[in-house]
């Protein structure tokens, strides 16, 4: 039954405009980060950017993509929020619920489909970013031999796994906010305002001790394999993010299952 809901959602997700804009948009954004990092990398470090020496290490391949994670997350959040909220604003939810009255099944299928979509989009962006990184490495004279060692591949898979986990987290939060607010525009505005402004520029500066307990920072921590800016360990970020996601998902499920559909 979840499978039916999953496949149904994919009819919507695989439309050309959404597919191309998301996949190509994320790929372009990730590649841009790679280009900026390689172009501005100093020879021996400093300035908050990895040096050319660091880029030549086994994990040098993933620097650009890791830096782009926040952007990937924001896009994942916005896409997911819009997917859920638009069912209310378009009135399509009533059609869906007539065909699938088991609401949790419907919600689970939709969430899985959107998560898969974002995971694939991120994977595509990663592949493109890695190709761009190889090209940029040639232009800056960075040796890539360490990238293609077993350590390099291990670092790559580890980083990619963490980034995908973070993207899944952002996606779930987006789906939940969209479900609560029932308006795509409101959901995107609230989500972006929280992630980009309230967390990044207000809360973390006014109350730095709150940083390890914020959802966006926790997801960034997962993506980066830890957070040196705020001294947050990977495991702490993972636990906090999972708690947020579980609580948000349960709350959204209960609300969705019980709420009258008047739209």
């Amino acid at each position: 039954m979840i499978g039916a809901s999953y496949l149904s959602e994919w009819v919507k997700l695989k439309r050309k405009t959404l597919l191309l804009s998301t996949f190509l948009g994320l790929a372009a954004a990730s590649s841009l980060f790679v280009v900026l990092i390689f172009s501005n990398a100093p020879a021996h470090g400093g300035g908050g950017l990895p040096s050319l020496q660091q880029l030549a290490r086994p994990n040098g391949l993933v620097f650009g993509l890791t830096r782009a994670t926040f952007l990937l997350g924001v896009v994942a959040f916005g896409t997911a929020a819009a997917q859920t909220a638009s069912e209310y604003s378009l009135g399509t939810l009533r059609q869906l619920l007539v065909r699938q009255p088991r609401r949790i099944t419907l919600l689970a299928g939709k969430m899985l489909a959107v998560m898969t979509f974002m995971v694939l989009a991120t994977a595509f962006a990663a592949v493109v970013a890695f190709i761009v990184a190889n090209v940029m490495a040639q232009t800056r004279g960075v040796s890539t031999s360490a990238w293609f060692t077993s350590t390099g591949f291990g670092d790559l898979l580890n980083a990619l796994g963490n980034i995908e986990l973070a993207v899944i987290g952002y996606t779930i939060l987006g789906l939940v906010i969209g479900q609560f607010l029932r308006s795509a525009v409101a959901a995107v505005i609230v989500g972006f305002a929280w992630l980009l402004v309230i967390e990044q520029f207000i809360l973390t500066r006014i109350i730095p001790s709150a940083a390890p307990w914020l959802p966006g920072i926790s997801l960034s921590t997962i993506a980066g394999g830890g957070n040196s800016d705020f001294g947050i360990s990977y495991s702490h970020g993972l636990v906090v993010a999972v708690i947020y996601i579980v609580v948000a998902t349960v709350a959204a499920s209960i609300t969705f299952a019980r709420r009258d559909v008047t739209a």
């Binding site: 039954m1 039916a4 809901s5 496949l7 149904s8 959602e9 009819v11 919507k12 439309r15 405009t17 959404l18 378009l90 009135g91 399509t92 009533r94 059609q95 869906l96 619920l97 007539v98 065909r99 699938q100 009255p101 088991r102 419907l106 019980r258 009258d260 559909v261 008047t262």
Partner: protein, 330 residues
Amino acid sequence: MTVTQVTRRTGEPPSSVLAVSTDGLTKRFGDRTVVDGVNLAIPRGSVCGFVGPNGAGKTTTIRMLLGLIRPSSGGGSILGGSLTDPASYLHKVGALIESPAFYPQLSGRDNLKALARLGRIPTSAIDPALGRTGMTDRAGDKYRSYSLGMKQRLGIAAALLPSPELLILDEPTNGLDPGGIVEMRGLIRSFADDGITVLVSSHLISEIEQVCDHVVMIRGGRLVHQGPVAELAARQRPDIVVAPEHATDLGQLAQILEVAGLSVAASPADGTATVPASGVSAADLNRLAMRGGITLRQISERTHSLEDVFFQLTGTDTAMSPGQEMGAIR
């Protein structure tokens, strides 16, 4: 004005022959009771019109039948399944709820595909549904490019996907031009010919009269009347309208008719007197007038439409003339 609150305990068919039956269905939003103890009894195979003024509770009732809104109290049965378990019957139900709602960026066909997959309906059901609603040629176009009539037809096509035993159509003629309305009427009748039970709400009582064989009337959240349209029509005793040649004779004519034991409503504005047609014929009235030395310039029978009966039942004073019905009864 008498309002007949109909219950299922008054000689109505047993539930096995009912497609929809509810018992005290009630919905409250806060302190406001939108649907109040409604007992529906809609026979299988009927085309049932669901009428009532704006805010009468029609859409809320339909949404409760479809599991979209949880009843505050009461229950019911749809195609043998309990209202508390919509999954037990919705696979046999097709519905168009208010205005059609689809994804604008998808084609008509893809919109139906999304619904078919969700309902585990074979995608082979899509083409027949599109064909039946005349949407085959435009099925590949984006939904956002459709006219209102095409959107309505796609909505009907979506409702037909599960090969339904019960079709619930909420205002299916909304926004259609006269040609579209006639088409929709034919479509609805064809569903009945296929043995599908159709529950259709409409703001056009005249539409209901033409296409339905059963009617449910609701007002202020309460059931006012339900039963066969024919039964309702039988209750509509026509009036006979007479007009004296000289308007100054109207008072005398009214007096003559009253003396003869008839109930008369004189209208000096248009110089007519109206008499219920029960037990008296046009010839009788002509004879009475002649005996009183009054020549009649008009004797005509005026039949009541379903609209008139609706207003009689719901206690609305002013009957609407044809063409006024659109906004007033919804």
